[in-house]
Amino acid sequence: MSPNLTLIVVSGVLVACGVALLLERTLTRVLVGVVLLGNGINVLFLVASGRPGRAPILSGGTTAETMSDPLPQAMVLTAIVITLGMVAFVLALAYRSWQIGGHDEVQDDVEDRRIVRRAELDETSASYDDDTTATSSEQGVSP
């Protein structure tokens, strides 16, 4: 089986753009990234299905040799539906985030910020200053 180069390139570009957008902090861009990524992978399924052929319907003289593989198409359909549902959910999440905070940027975790601040102050543990065990094991995390 020789794969279709155009489809591979299309899939690659879509996935690359999707990943780039996924790394953004704005949830709406992440959403677009998910859409692109999902479609890129769906195209990959078409590559996986091999040689293109006639519609996989047993009528009008289509034989098993001339039809394309129906199984990846069924899987792509399922994947499209699932991705659609997930995109709808992320959209709702972005809207809710905008409703609450006036923007849809992904926020830092409170605890993460606390740890970063601790590191900046060169402070080891807020509550276990006298305890060396906690101190040494905490330093073990950082490298």
């Binding site: 992978i41 959910f89 992320v90 905070g101 605890e111 995390v141």
Partner: protein, 520 residues
Amino acid sequence: MTEWARVLLPLPVVLPLFAAGLTLALARRPRAQRTISVTALSVVVAASVAVLVLTDRGRGTYSVDVGGWPARLGIPLVADRLSALMLVVSSVVTLAVLVYSLAQGVADGEEGTPVSIYHPTYLVLSAGVSNAFLSGDLFNLYVGFEILLAASYILLTLGGTAARVRAGTTYVVVSLLSSMVFLTAIALVYAATGTVNMAELSVRLRDVDPDVQLVLHLLLLVGFGIKAAVFPLSAWLPDSYPTAPAPVTAVFAGLLTKVGVYAIIRTETLLFPGGQASRLLLWVALATMVVGILGAVAQNDVKRLLSFTLVSHIGYMVFGVALGTAGGLSGAVFYVAHHITVQTTLFLVTGLIERCAGSTSLDALGSLAKRTPLLAVLFFVPAMNLAGIPPFSGFLGKLGLLQAGVDVGTWPAYVLVAGGVVTSLLTLYAIAKVWNRAFWQEPQTEPSGEVGGLATATRVGTRTPLGMVVPTAALVAVGVGITVVAGPLFGISDRAAQDLLDRTPYTSTVLHDRVPEVGS
């Protein structure tokens, strides 16, 4: 016997889905919703126990061709000893958490949250977990994952408060990414072999070029690794779990990561036995154990601390799987069963603590043992179980894994055994810290706004409803019960491990004893 399997196997998937539809239709009648979901999940528990008895006493593996399509065309549901055991543990835990959450919901007056969707979502989650455990087809496994993930997104962001939306965003995006990786892996597996049926894959993958095998293997492991929260793919977990309501965190901690572990077990034993990536898994297991527990030691909040121990203990299971021997697999299977129960119990107890004291921050908690001795007992037993103190099942599971590691006898195995022991001790240290500070010492500081920010608004001082205590106590009892029945349970996990290593019981059952064609 086979006729029974035909009825019983689809039940854990179909019944919760059906009940979910029904509860959605009855959205305005909370009492009817409660009755339906409790009944449905009780039936699922009964069915799972029946499946376990059937597989363990009977032929070992049963498969049902959904819709009557034979396995190669259609999608089979397969139950072997591993999936049957997972089903039983998960359904018991799901039912207990449901009862707990109902009592909490009733007591809290259910204000501010659209509880009418709680029941349908929870039931869909249960169906997704069962589907993932029973699926004999890689794509159906993906669908199972998506079902449970979609439900988990909703449960995690229930109510849509700022903290939950923030935590939910991380969780949703990371989960979406892992699903995409998994989907890519499925596309490539299909391109390489022309099938996604796991039994058939186990035969066909042998003829695939080793380098291609490695790529597929790694892609699957990365996808499942994110879901199972193995280091370095675990950073999302301690960030997102603690903000959810206590019962939701409990069921997530118990089940969702274990579905990932289950998928890793299947990948390692059925699809790529002795694959090149298995050695990598050993080091991943070590890093997961050690880094996870170091994170736990540094925490000041009980929920976050428990989330980190969850990550850490995933390492034990991966360790057993990576060893690839019968002993290692058996230990891993036993440990999964033990850990689902114990971790869920601990999160439920934390929910009770939050309810009693209004916070889960160790700085704000103190002298709980004097106020509520029962709570102290409920916490102490699963906590010691988690740390692996001798009479409990945690000890037996860890002992089995360490024994398996020593039996393998290579130097990486010894390093991992040492890592396991250290992790166990550090778990004891972290748990003892919670025990000391929350239950015995006076609170050191006044509850501060920042640290207590994780705690949702609960009514401090109100009586803890009996409906919350009873399921927690029941799960504590189940945890202790695992110790009592450890012998038979280890028997089942030994036989499950043997089946996993043999592979023929699985493949011949799914493919109905037809010899699969080699090559594509």
